[in-house]
Structure formats: C-alpha cells, structure tokens
Symmetry: C2
Subunit: 408 residues, 2 copies
C-alpha cells in the first residue's frame, strides 16, 4: 500500500509544474491545513528553494501572497547518446536557460566524455546561465544501477562498467546527481511535458541506433532488479535472421533499428531495387567526394532513416516496404509486451520515429491484431511529442526530484 | 516515493506470519514507540482482531505480555479453476481448519458455481469450522477488475463478464470480500509460503489447462490497467501453428498447455510413435469401457500430463520430445519477458509443473541463452513449492490483508 508523497515534495512539484501559486490556493490544492502549509513554506524559503512573488489577485478576503520556486534554482540535464551529448541548464520550472548539443562518441570512454560534459557545464556558468547548480541529472545509453548511480555492463559503452558517474558529477558540481538509462529519462520526459502527460502506465519505445523500452508502471519508472528492464533490443524475433552486434542471431535491433535500416537501404540503393534510395546514395557519395578529406572522421552512414522516410513519402515502394517490415517486427514484440503488461499507452520515440505514420500504422495493426482484445480496447499507440528533447527533459525532471527529495 | 504501511497493518501481518509475539518484541521489531504500540494494541484488541496470550519468557526486567491474532479469526479462501472448486477456511495464521475440493465446470455460470461455493462455506460453519467469517478471498480463471471486484471479458467463463462476485460474496457472508485472477493468487501464495518467500520481483508462470503469468513487482502484484496483465497464453509464437480457442493461430497455449499436450500425446499414442503412450491410451480406453455409462459426464481426456511425465521417466523418447518442445516454446516467451521486466526469480506452477525437471531444464536453457546476460546472471528458474495449494494460500493472504486494511 502506498501513501501520498511528503508535503514538501508536493509543494515543490506543484510550483515546478504550474508556476507561481498563492498560499491560499496551495493549501486548497494540497489539502494541507493552514498551520501545516505555513510551516512547510517557511522551511522551504529558509532552505532557498521557494520565494515570495508578490500578491495574488483577491479572492474576496485578504489578498494572499504568491509563492514560486526560487528564481535562482538551476538544474543541469545531460542526455548522452551513442554519438551525442545534449545538455540543458534549466530553471526551477525546467525551462532551458542554456542549451548545448554536440557529437561525441560514447566509446571514447567516461573520462573523455564526462570531462567534456563538465567543460560545457562550466562554460554555461561563465556564460551566466547559473551561479550554482542545485542538481545534475544524466542519462546514458545502457543499463544503470539507479541505486548506485553507475552504468552496469553497458554493451555499447566500453570502459563505463561501474564507473562512478554520479559520485564524480556530484563532487565536481557540489550538488546531488542522479544517473539513469537514456530510455528511462525519455519516458520520464514524455510523461512530464509530452504526449504521456499524467499517464501512469505506459511504454516508451525508443527506436534509434538501437531499440529500448522505458517502462512506467503505477506512476513510476520500473527499472528491474538489475536496472536492465526494458532492454528489448536483443529479443530474438527470427532465429534465421542476421547476426546482431551482441553475438546472437535475429535480435529485434539486428532486424530493425537505425543501423539495420541504413544497411538495408544501402543494399536496396546499390541493387537498384529502389530508385529513390539509389538517387540519394549517389548524391551522398558525390557530396562525400567533394568534402575536404583532411578530416579524420569515420565514413558517415550515407543513407539514413530520413532518406527512407522521404522516399516513402514520394511513393517509393521499397522504402514503404522497409518501413512496414520494420513496423511489423516491432509490432510483434510490442504485442507480446502488451499482453504481458497491459499498459494504457505506447509512445514511439527515437530517431526512427521520423518514419512517421507508415511505421505507426504498421505497429498499430500488428499490436491490435495480436494482443488480447481486452488489453487493446483503449490503447493509443502514438509518436513522441518531445522528439529529441525527451531525454534532456526527463533528466531535468529527475534532477529536480532529487534536489527536492534531499530538502526533507 | 513509497512509505511504510500503517502501523496496524504491520502489527497484524507480523502476528499472522510469525505467531504470538511479546509486546516488547513487537515494539522493537516494528520500531514503534511504547505509547504508540500500546495504543495500537488496545485498539486492535477492542476491534476483536488480536488477543492476549499469556506471558512471554523474561528478558531480564518485567515479563512482557504475549499478543496473538484473535483465535476466532477466520478467512475463507476460494480458488476456482476451469474444472474445480478449492476451498479452505483458515485461522488468523492462515492454517487450514477445513478443506473442500471438488470438480465443477466454470462454464456452468456464476449462479451455479457461487451457489455451490456458498453451500460449501455454510457446510463448513455447520461442521464447526467458524462462527463468523472475517473476509472471503476468491480467485477466478480469467481477467478481473480488482478495483470493481468483477471478472472482465473472461474468455473461458461464459456468463461471468462483470458479474458482481465480490458484492454477492460480501453480502452472503457479512464480511469484506476480494476477487482476483487465479494466477495472481497463486503468485501471492507462493510469495507467502513457498519458494518465492519474501522475493519482491518475480514471475509466477502457471502452465495448466491454459497458460498465465502472475507478475510481482516491487513487492506487490502488478495487474495492469484493465486487470489482464500477465495474460501470456495468447502470445503468438508460431504464425503457422495450430488454431487456438481464441480464434488466432499459433498462440503459446495452443502449442503447449494441458489441452495441447493431451492432443499431441493422443496423436503420438494412436500413430504408435510412442509405445509408452500407446500402452497408457489402451489402458485408459479399457477402463472407460468398463465404466458405468449412465454418467452424463463428457468423455474424459484419456491421456494427461501425468502419463507424459511417467513416459519420459521411463525413457520414452516421444514423451521427452513433447516436454522439451513445450519447454522451448515457454522458454522463448519467458526470454522476452525477462529481457523486458528483469525479475529476480521465475516460478513454474500449474498442472504441467509435474512434468518436472525435463521441462525446467529446457525452459532454463532457452531463457539463459536468449535473454540479456545481465538479466540472467542471478535468475533462478524453479518449480512451485505449494503446488495445487498455491491458489487457496494466496486467496487466504488476500482475504486477511483485506480484513486488516478495513480495520484502520
């Protein structure tokens, strides 16, 4: 049996999510007695978390004072991808005051990557984004022990296993830090400010370089016993399928993911099966030849999900087929997970969400046909609203929750 | 964020699970101050839930009074199967004081079945098992709205959809009642008194007439948004497989379940492929011919899982193959669910658990090979300890929890 969160958490979250509120309304909304509320507010003002913000409009009697989160509150939100660093410094209402995005290879290892994260955060301070951080939240592309604040055996992150990410960030910035899986923070972000707003039980499926699933049950993230719940990319969907990076054959992400789609699209371009993709491959190769070859970058993947999406929009049958086949694979796995977990919504995010409605239609069709009717009677399958901002948004939510919890 | 249960619940559960305890030890164990504990104990004595039970052995100072659950507390636990009614009347410590088990076809409908349940419970009172029931817990073989206390679109229970099971039982017996899915109560039972004792995150997989899964996450049953979480029997595992009772093709339980195994075993007996099964089929048919044919019963399934288990034990290769193929099918689905939910234990129960270690070995082999290594590093896959008593045990736990919660 679960009871409501502590009053100070409810006050702080309400101000974060809705902005300045009068003391009178705060008491009504949180069903706190006046003395209890006054004590909480006084304590949170003293702790530097909330501030007075003028008078509210009269509700008939004496005018009530507005309170808001202290305008100086700052959280750092970091979303590490396989090949990117996304950072936002946000205020108490989680509005960005500084944003940085750059490419970075997660395989460079934790020293290099975290050093760069710290550099960017210190630059944000020099740029005037903050004086002091109140918490840092970070998402990484692999399994995480949430309790210990470390990655655990992350397959695509050599050198990161049990690296003390939380401890080092906390020490560097003198504030609490929190580490989670990248898909979990995307799910948290989408629930805070996206299409899953206030939905308690949903699955967030990220289809990007790899495939993963954030699981929200009963209003909180379910992380599993070892922190690897939702790692659905290596579910075997075809024993005769291609070999996966994990060494098994026929894993979901070996059949459909950013890299699998690029592989299949390049093959379709080269064979001439797809005129739309052949044209794009030729253009991409021309562009590459004209590029300055001093650069030490690896050869880029020359056809991306965007090209396949554009080809499909032009009516190229191979592009449509590639998307549909992928949707069918993902849909088959999701049908199983829907029968198992009976969620109230499925959100599709990650880079391949840009394949849009052809993908969505195919996923829906398989899920609705194959899952238990009772479980799909009212089950929206929708695209992420926040797109590439889902991760940093969720990291900011986690950071603020962590700071608020430590204020007890 | 979750906080601890209310003190009265913790007192009552401790006395239920451990028996008489001294007031002094109770205070220590539950970390309650002496005045707080005394107030709780006084209140629960007045409510007729606990009683004094003599003096404890001295711990050096004054001797402390023992308290225990009131010896007159009685809960009724009912487990409805597709073709059976199991009832236990238990005392506060959930020890059976009366037990009834009989065959009954769930398709007879709710009036007939619940009428018979009530008759058996009234008989128990006449037999002296109780004066008054404190709560009734019942499990049914289909999806349930736990909140509303009604079955919801149960596929094998015609006439039961939204039938007010909880309300009718509560009215009939003048006490709170609680309704849940049969697999959920088995999982609860196994966690209370079986192999999953005190395990917070585990899957209980029932392989009987059909297949279902009880999901225990973070210490409580996860039921899903519509109450049908864990309904894994209709996951499609082979698009070219046999037609299932649900109308789809290749569902898990169309390939492996009590009825699927009987079908395959009879075919193997008739074709002569399996000498062990042919012998058993002949014996069963002889027995049927010699039976009084006045009985209006349907023709019994003449070969059961028991026969296949015995044949395998004798080394019959077809029996071993049938069990291994079934284990491989179940293992494939479980590998997916392990990657998704990262539990700390899998318990196999239901009638087909009697296939024993050949089945278990095959399930383990597939799960360990196909799930994420991190998720299987420490994942026992074990047989149910409580066997056919898992359901009534769980129903008794639910009944007692319901009575205790209403005592607040």
């Amino acid at each position: 049996m679960h009871v409501a969160d502590a009053p100070h958490l409810r006050v702080l979250r309400l101000l974060r999510d809705e902005g300045p509120v009068s003391r009178a309304e705060l008491g009504d909304r949180l069903e706190l007695t006046r003395p209890r509320l006054l004590a909480e507010v006084e304590r949170l003002v003293a702790a530097g978390l909330i501030a007075e913000a003028g008078m509210a409009a009269s509700r008939g009697g004496r005018r009530s004072t507005l309170v808001e989160l202290d305008p100086r509150l700052r959280f750092a939100a970091v979303d590490l991808g396989a090949s990117s660093i996304d950072i936002e410094v946000v205020n108490g209402r989680l509005e960005p005051v500084a944003t940085y995005r750059e490419t970075a290879d997660i395989r460079s290892g934790p020293r290099t990557i975290l050093h760069r994260v710290n550099e960017l955060l210190h630059k944000a301070r020099t740029d005037g984004a903050y004086e002091k951080l109140d918490a840092v939240g970070i998402g990484v592309p692999g399994p995480v022990s949430f309790r210990d604040g470390v990655p655990v055996s992350p397959p695509i992150m050599p050198g990161w296993d049990r690296y003390p990410v939380r401890e080092l960030l906390a020490r560097e910035h003198g504030c609490p830090a929190v580490v989670d899986n990248d898909v979990n923070i995307m799910a948290i972000g989408e629930r805070h400010g996206g299409v899953a707003h206030s939905v308690d039980d949903f699955l967030f499926v990220k289809i990007g370089t790899g495939i993963g699933c954030g699981i929200h049950l009963g209003g909180t993230v379910y992380r599993g016993v070892d922190g690897c719940a939702g790692d659905i990319g290596h579910i075997q969907v075809d024993p005769n399928g291609p070999v996966c990076s994990c060494g098994n054959t026929g894993c979901l992400e070996a059949l459909f993911s950013g890299s699998a789609l690029a592989r299949d699209a390049i093959a379709a371009a080269r064979s001439g099966e797809s005129p739309a993709l052949a044209e794009r491959l030729a253009a991409a190769m021309n562009a590459a030849e004209n590029q300055d070859d001093d650069e030490q970058s690896e050869p880029a993947i020359t056809i991306t999900a965007r090209d396949v999406a554009d080809g499909a929009a032009e009516g190229d049958v191979t592009c449509i087929r590639l998307i549909r086949e992928g949707g069918r694979r993902v849909g088959g796995v999701l049908a199983t997970l829907v029968s198992f977990s009976n969620p109230s919504m499925i959100v599709i995010g990650g880079g391949l969400a840009q394949l849009g409605h052809v993908l969505l239609a195919e996923i829906r069709s398989v899920v609705y046909r194959r899952s238990l009717p009772l479980a799909t009677g009212n089950l929206p399958v929708v695209l992420s609203e926040l797109g590439s901002r889902a991760g940093v948004t969720g990291a900011a939510v986690l950071a603020s929750d962590t700071a608020f919890e430590q204020a007890s």
